[in-house]
Symmetry: C4
Subunit: 377 residues, 4 copies
């Protein structure tokens, strides 16, 4: 059955006869294909009220915002989208803060290297990562950064990380902390073009103090992840120290620690956009369709990735990638969207080889080169 009764214009719950129709249709054994949106579903807000439970949904030109949220999946079924020949100029000028970031967008952003470019051109990145028992987070972030094209990489970590890092990522230089098991001190920051911080650092008091010092001393956009975000959620007064255009990469639980819980996916998405604007940062909300919200209110949904990437260390690799892109001079907005895309594509290529349950986070950097090759064409 083709469901094209109500499209994206609807904004209040179906009632009366329409409600009865929807319930009747859902009770039929037929396959249901919804055009634009399943009738009853709201395009831009949480759906209350009855809704067609489609087996498949099809959107014109671009997916609807509603397509990206878990709460709608049981009504959308397998969704897809395609052109019906709408005027491209119309699409481009249609004012919307929302975008779906695809392979074309990635190809547009990714830079071809010049013949005379050298390691200086690609920047020196600093990752502050790891602690006793969690040095693997630093290893994975470093591998992500190295395959993302950084010119030089230094990893600052407690002394327990020395042998681990030098053995697993010989391309990276190791900057030793003053302490053995967790991060407490800062190296000279002036030589680094980009800084990524947080993977596996823990939340010791001295680590919190070091993070505060870093934020006070450094005013360039940086990447904050994991425990750096958890510490920030415990010290909301540090928000004013976060450099403008920094990239924060919470998953849902970390997001809720930072900004509180949301009633539904739409309200969380609204909160995401509001907070990115309020704090002047890029917030990468990691999930099935990772969202990148920016200071200008724009919000981009990523088109790559798979649930095999839901495994420990996957996010550390992303932090390495984003830091490496900043070091290469990509603008934070581009770094965030391209990095998330490459990370997901590498995960997809890895899963094609190792299956989704068989994927390890360490596979993602291994396939990052092939992901770049696909993007660069």
């Amino acid at each position: 059955m083709i469901d094209a009764l109500f499209g994206s214009g609807l904004s209040r719950p179906l009632e009366g006869v329409w409600k009865q129709v929807v319930e009747r249709v859902n009770g039929l054994p037929n396959e249901r294909v919804s055009i634009d949106l399943p009738s009853g579903m709201f395009a831009d807000q949480h759906t209350s009220g009855p809704c067609i439970h489609a087996n498949r949904s099809f959107s014109f030109e671009t997916p609807k915002l509603a397509y990206f949220f878990k709460e709608n999946q049981h009504c959308l079924g397998n969704w897809s989208y395609g052109s019906i020949g709408l005027h491209q100029g119309y699409c481009a000028t249609a004012e919307t803060p929302f975008a779906y970031f695809t392979a074309d967008d990635a190809a547009h952003l990714a830079r071809v290297r010049g013949r005379f470019d050298h390691k200086g051109t690609f920047g020196h990145a600093l990752l502050i990562a790891g602690s006793y028992g969690k040095m693997g987070a630093a290893v994975l972030a470093a591998r992500g950064a190295l395959r993302a094209g950084v010119g030089l990489l230094t990893v600052h970590a407690p002394r327990c990380g020395n042998i681990v890092l030098q053995t697993t990522v010989p391309e990276a230089m190791y900057s030793p902390d003053q302490r053995g098991k967790f991060w407490t001190s800062l190296p000279d920051l002036s030589i680094y073009k980009a800084i990524g911080i947080g993977c596996g650092i823990g939340k010791e008091a001295l680590t919190a103090a070091a993070l505060k010092t870093l934020l006070e001393r450094h005013d360039q956009a940086m990447v904050l992840d994991a425990d750096a975000l958890n510490l920030l959620s415990e010290h909301p007064e540090w928000w004013r120290l976060i450099p403008r255009n920094s990239i924060l990469t919470p998953h849902v639980r970390e997001f809720e620690r930072l900004f509180g819980a949301s009633e539904n996916d739409f309200s969380r998405n609204a909160l995401l956009r509001q907070k990115a604007q309020e704090h002047g940062v890029f917030i990468v909300l990691k999930g099935a369709y990772t969202a990148v919200a920016g200071p200008d209110g724009a919000c981009s949904y990523n088109s790559t990735g798979n649930p095999g990437m839901g495994t420990g260390g996957s996010g550390d690799v992303l932090t390495g990638i984003l830091t490496a892109l900043l070091a290469q001079g990509y603008a934070p907005s581009d770094a965030a969207r391209l990095g998330v895309f490459l990370h997901g594509l590498a995960g997809d290529l890895g899963a094609a080889q190792f299956s989704e349950p068989g994927l390890r986070a360490g596979d993602i950097p291994l396939y990052l080169g092939k992901a770049w090759a696909k993007v660069l064409g």
Copy 2:
């Protein structure tokens, strides 16, 4: 020659003229093909008396129990089975505690991941493994768990394991024991969805005490292997502490330490089923046709694997796989059967690449992804 004189109905030794016929046939140079069972062989118990020495045996619909035991191989030759068109309903309803676990069964059990599943969905597993000189067991178990799809993995090990684990399995977090060379203390267990214990832990007194404490404190089904089983065999009073539906994975010698020797393969098999029921656990008796016996008396024989897997560390990988499947929410019965199947299939894929003698245990996790891919289709 086709041997179809006696089938699976026989239950006492052939005598007189039948004995003479069998001996005469075995003396002929002809190739002998037995249908159902070689004449003289008992289907469900140890064969005493003369038996056709078949070059090949063929069973209808499913292998006979007798097919799985070493003691019968010299009479069975190369065996196979196939459908002759018996009514599927009949097969499904035929009451038997025995089953042959095949690719179809694995495909039925294996779960396809949902688009919005994340690392929380796939559970946090704890492996307690390794000791000074045997940290490799922890490494291999961790690699098995990571490629089996766990969401998060922590390995608890003595302090000598820190660098080894962080270097080889960066995706896993390391939980340090209070001691340097063997396991003595427990981390907070409340955050773990599944626990696997025993690979390479040794049998120090403090380790035994820690195992007892673990069993007293934890009441969820866990995986017990290797030295955990050896310690259990020395402390039979701990049987009452083993959580219901736990999975125990002895090889034959470990099985005999736990339950004593058996006269033959049939009596060991009966003992296996009896003990699984008595203790309310799943016992995985590792070998050529690994058997999984459960609290309900059912016993499943695995169809994958090869003798190249008879190499140190192979069992550690299995422990990691089983623990990871429990963490993902597979019921212990499913985890045990699917895990054993995937482990064997990965070993088969590995041996196709590296040959049977050339196979290392560390190859098994490497091919686990391909095994998943075959199972998921």
Copy 3:
């Protein structure tokens, strides 16, 4: 448009009507293809004055010197060269200190191994490399040396390098320094056929002293890289100690530390050739077309490599390769040119697999074997 007005004979800036023609042509939307050289460009010196901005340039028989320099690329566009049937004897006898080192040259230099050659035949090399936090440089140099065909390899490093090196490059023997974190002492040098020094050694005072002692004691051609060059730039009085025909491998910044800045690429190239002759050494100026200048004034430009190799550790791999070639008895001139070619080719093969931004320095040794195979045919 075909631009063949002025070729390589020009040596003063275009003026008057010619200047106007060039400016007019550059302003047209047509594609411009320059023959020999873009009109206005000088063949052997820095171009001052107007010049055709070609989209493509084509040279006869061999690239012009001007083709190798960054400052000309915006006028050359994509350049290529090819034979127009000039008499080969003429090309061979044309007196020029400049050469373009191609696959044919590499095939000519590379030696096929004899059936009865053994590890003694291929020499024992010593790498002095690494310090606390930079042991990866030693790892990468060692991997380069091993895949370049050395018979035996010893790496001398501070004691912090023991586990790192033994774990990552088991084929190499480790020679411990007296100190834990940086290089200060010399092993018995008499057993080594070639020495490579400098990768990641740092610039501690005791390290500087050890380098001086090495230079005083050893009179065979060696390979000097990285911090060995930086120390040399701080101690110009050591130049007299550098063994004749040694190979020095600076990148541009290291070159400038040694010899000062240059006004343009041509003057830097002249300085390179002058210094190689003055000090009786081979200087490998690393970059887009790595130049190898020798004591006899010859200068060879390499034809392999890509900007993906502009990443930390790439140069360490080259040092290992060059040292291994010296150990195998290649003359320094051959070792330098063949080593640079193999290094670049391995990087090209690696980038074909991993993309340019996805390339890690550690990929280069991995593809060195395939590079050898291509060269050996």
Copy 4:
């Protein structure tokens, strides 16, 4: 030109007109193909006097002894052999102590595993290997043993080897010595089915004492390599302690340390056979055509391998392979010949991938599985 004047019957130098003919022929520009042997060459002893310098030589049925020695290669050119239809029975019964070990022989010796074989079937091997700075030798030997099919592997090494071994070969158990930097003490030997000793152990006095103790206590055939042989050469009184049928694996210099220099390849070969008989051991003289001489006077020349294997660590891998074959119950004679063949074949497969100069010793274990697969068919 076909050279078939003199064949293998010759035993004194050519003189007079025959000498003139040979010299004349060598002076001609024609290609020379020698049948059986180049005229003037002796089949079974050092050639004195003039000899045809063939470009190619061809032997019937099997290579001549003279073919295996370096001193003859310049006269043999590229040699080959093939059947001309001699009666196979004749070949088999022709009494000669010499044999050329080929793929057919390997296929004959290699055992197919039984479905019910397990890690106990494949034996527990002990490698005593490594010292401070040379732990890589233990790593490579262990990798060789693991890919050669051993059931269980323990590596006994000084304490500096703990992290190195557990990180690189997790399948192996580590047995710690009482000392930190070199081998001095013995573990309980009763549980091991085969012992391999010598790779990288050094020659400290306490190490020598431990080796003597091992030889006194253990009377089963073992594998002795490298420094174990060097120590033996310094303590010839220990020869009486070497267990009968042990396998010794010297390269030429180690052989000369043990038994003195030889005038030529034939006399070295005679010495090899004599010493193997005298001491009742198998001596594997490693080189281009590795020779395995046994207590019965037989001497087998290996047909696999390439000069790319002339690289540090290659011999360590062989020691691991031989020890693993003994542990699996191969007779020493079979273990020596099959092990040498597999090692060489793995090196050939590795060189096909990585080229000869690009081959690392660690590649050999990686290709051992494929070598097994080729041998097992």
